[in-house]
């Protein structure tokens, strides 16, 4: 690498780190939304995400695939076995040598254990199962496992977060580290902590995954939108979870 490139790299890195939010100043998107929307989320009787959680509960004990097994046949009561699981995903799958997010983990289980076809991304069933599993971690601190094996994925996610891209030439960090709390059109820019996924987004009128949300943002800066389930998105998910480490999960979250 030439000295000029090194210098450039230094400025890119230095510029990127300057804006990182101190741990004690981090706030969930929940804190930045209106009181009315907070109330929808707070009450299980009004939180539409609970409809998916209940669907997921039914799917948990429904047999599927040629193995004719349900999630419950292996994992038992999700309230005990799935507690804290969503808080540490994406996680490394040792046999595949790949980083898997929660949706991919559920599908891996379907293919390997139930001998069933994987559920399509953003399908009602997959979101329901994900919401049900993640619901069991509500209130628990986000704690992805970072070690020598997952570090490269974290670094890749960090790089993606700080990389300027698209026709608007913006990085995630420029909005969510440097300008959170300000307005983008009529909306408050949140800090982008994945505390409530899958979320019921009022704009979507539907439940959606973190990847759907990330693709929205990438589309918004007019960049090439990565495919659902692509490595780039999963790496970014890991970085966002690490960035939100210690914050409490709120699944199912409601967002404007």
């Amino acid at each position: 690498m030439s000295p000029r490139l090194l210098l450039l790299a230094f400025f890119v890195v230095a510029g990127a780190w300057a804006g990182e939010i101190p741990l004690e100043q981090r706030r969930s998107g929940y804190d930045l939304m209106s009181r009315e929307t907070q109330k929808i989320q707070d009450d299980d009787a009004t939180n539409p995400g609970m409809l998916w959680v209940l669907d997921g509960e039914a799917l948990w004990s429904a047999r599927a695939g040629t193995a004719n097994r349900s999630c419950a046949d292996c994992h038992g009561d999700a309230k005990a076995s799935m507690k804290g699981v969503a808080a540490r995903y994406p996680a490394l799958d040792a046999t595949r040598g790949k980083l898997l997010n929660l949706e991919q983990r559920i599908n891996a289980c379907r293919v390997d254990r139930q001998k069933a076809s994987p559920l399509p991304y953003e399908s009602k069933e997959l979101l329901a199962l994900e919401a049900y599993v993640a619901r069991q971690s509500r209130g628990l601190p986000i704690a992805p496992k970072i070690d020598a094996k997952t570090k490269p994925f974290l670094e890749a996610g960090k790089e993606a977060f700080h990389r300027r891209q698209g026709q608007l030439n913006l990085s995630c960090a420029q909005c969510h580290d440097d300008h959170w709390g300000k307005k983008l059109a009529g909306s408050v820019i949140p800090q982008a902590h994945p505390t409530g996924y899958p979320i019921y987004r009022l704009e979507w009128q539907n439940l959606g995954s973190l990847e759907r949300r990330l693709r929205n943002c990438v589309f918004g800066i007019r960049a090439q939108v990565p495919d659902l389930g692509s490595e780039e998105l999963v790496d970014l998910e890991l970085y966002l979870m690490w960035r939100a480490r210690g914050m409490r999960l709120e699944t199912p979250g409601v967002r404007p």
Partner: protein, 106 residues
Amino acid sequence: MARAVVTVPPRAKRGEIVEIKTLAQHSMETGFRRTQNGELIPRDIIRTFTCSYNGVEVCRVELHPAIAANPLIAFTTVATESGALTFRWDGDNGYTVTEIAPIKVE
């Protein structure tokens, strides 16, 4: 799956005003949207919601295309006697969901 969730206080004092919340899972497709090919997506909404308390209608709602998906309907009624509240949602394409919730009045 057509799911609906109702929240009724399980017990109430006679004459007390109780709040009832209902949430129905429905996409509430307006009938005004089009696909990328320009074809109209047919309307698919909930048309009516009714709640009867021991056979007496205490709430009736007409729903229209501008109402959000998964409509939340909350209302109050006076707890008169023990019994059951019957909730019913009816909509396009034969959509019908019924939920029954007991209430104990002391």
